[in-house]
Symmetry: C2
Subunit: 335 residues, 2 copies
């Protein structure tokens, strides 16, 4: 193997929004895989809100990305060279391979995928971590039951589009909260949500009062902040608030805004629960098969936002997430 | 029946701390019970943190006390006159009879109690709502398991003293948080808590780091505010945060302080859940029998703070709660 590997490494811990100078663009020689390993070229890189948390030096469910380390990311690679019996050139593999063009792997914790069954990018979205997050967050943590009223925030994002559609498959009434009229029209049109609230234009609390007069049974929260507080005022008895993320708070330079209305958990005998999708890994296969079935029959539509470019486009593409510029799963395709 | 009834009625909705002028001291003629009813004299009146919430005009688990209405309170009365077949003069009865000297009741929703089995005041504390709140909050909502580490805030209060001791009976390691060295010494001495943190003198977060190095499995929260935020930083995996109350926030004139560290629920796969003790009413009898057994065998000690006086002492006695001046269950005995 000869040639080079380009990488995006963390240069400095960001304060607030991630800035271009927080990244280092590095070129290093590409090394041959060696025995028991394979090498590949990166095709698609996943961009996720959780990435912001990985950059902060505080205890979390994964250690922070170290200064000087390649940025952590899920990606789909195409195997180019292999000294591993389980992988052949031409195979496509999903794993946490990082933001780099060239990858060497021993095959642990990775998954071979078939581009004939679904577009490669889908393995980072609907059939990947965002799909798993929506599936287990809603069905296991949220303990969703048929006929319930479900509210999803960040509803036009990778997880939100899936969570809302899974709730529809399960026979629930679904209200999405998203930023902008276009996203809201997409939710109620193409994706079949029962209603959508544009948090930039609407009074969320008033809209919820009208759209969910009997209260919210399950709230799938991707955003935190004022929207979480608004939904807390509208909980039904025994409601479940699923804490999936808090994108509105990730770039805060001061402390996170806590939910001032949390005492409605007491009044409504409700619970708020967090989860980390990796805990459900033993059930990913079964969940992916069920999701793939719903996709194949058109009950769930896959929304992806593919940015085609080079590795150097990673920083700007990541910013799109925090500015709400993507619809559905955001991926960077290396062309 | 002749004579008069003295009552404490709500004169105005308090803003912040309840002030003397928010109450009206009224004397009205006492009326005979009439057919199917009984009348009685109030012996003990319960004072509870939840009373502050009942004074605010906002949706909750009970309607607010109306302006001009007798203040809601649990009490023990002694029957003086009866035209109800189930109650005889000399009987003692617990019910939500309100802050008044003379009570007429049709017997619905009340409970006859036996002063030979326990002091009358205990039916408002360890064997009453505070005992039930500790029991169901810890065992049902908190899903407590033997060997776990439990933290109780407001630990020297009516609910806290019971919650901590129940957790000890269940074989847990118990850390109490209370205000003042005397209260803390009482917790670790007389009540057998494993450790106590004086939130007025100690750095709660630091103390928890030392006292619960492996994290907190169940946090029974009576106080909210900064202490809730401190415990959230120390949750064990799959921890349960039981939201019983938030006495630090009840007199706020601005909005409630939301828990800024609520995202640790996600990192620690933990849940925060509220409850209202009245939901467990069908099981009160069985719980009271179990608690009475633990009290009889000395495994649980009953802590009561009895203020002896007249009905006019109610407003000042209520203030003691919010100033943390009571140890254990606070009751007003009419002498």
């Amino acid at each position: 193997m000869s040639g080079t590997n380009r990488q995006i490494r963390l240069a400095a811990r960001p304060v607030g929004e991630v800035k271009p100078e927080d990244w280092e663009h590095v070129t290093e020689p590409a090394t041959a895989p060696g025995e028991g390993r394979f090498a590949g070229r990166t095709r698609f890189i996943s961009l996720d809100p959780a990435m912001r948390g990985w950059l902060d030096d505080r205890p979390s469910y994964l250690p922070p990305v170290g200064i000087g380390e390649v940025m952590r990311a899920g990606s789909v690679i195409e195997v180019t060279e292999s000294e591993h019996p389980g992988f052949q050139p031409g195979d496509h593999v999903v794993g946490t391979f990082g933001v780099q063009e060239y990858v060497v792997s021993d095959g642990k914790g990775v998954l071979k995928v078939d581009p004939a069954l679904a577009p490669l990018s889908t393995y980072l979205g609907a059939l990947g971590m965002p799909g798993m997050t929506a599936y287990f967050g809603l069905l296991d943590v949220g303990d969703l039951k048929e006929g319930e009223t479900v509210v999803v925030s960040g509803a036009a994002g990778a997880v939100g589009t899936m969570a809302g559609q899974i709730a529809k498959v399960k026979g629930c009434r679904v209200i999405g909260i998203a930023g902008g009229a276009d996203k809201c029209a997409m939710l109620t049109g193409e994706l079949g949500f029962d209603a959508a609230i544009d948090y930039r234009a609407d009074d969320v609390r008033k809209a919820l009062r009208e759209l969910a007069p009997d209260g919210v049974d399950v709230y799938f929260d991707n955003v935190g902040g004022d929207i979480l507080d608004a939904v807390l005022t509208r909980l039904a008895l025994h409601a479940r608030v699923v804490i999936c993320g808090a994108i509105s708070q990730y770039n805060n330079e001061t402390q996170v805004q806590g939910p001032s209305n949390y005492l409605s958990l007491l009044v409504r005998r409700a619970r708020m629960e967090g989860f980390v999708v990796f805990d459900y890994a033993p059930r990913f296969g079964a969940a992916a098969r069920e999701l793939a079935g719903w996709i194949a029959t058109g009950r769930i539509k896959v929304k992806e936002h593919v940015v085609s470019g080079s590795l150097d486009d990673f920083p700007a593409t990541l910013q799109m997430l925090f500015r709400g510029e993507n619809v559905g799963k955001l991926v960077l395709e290396l062309t």
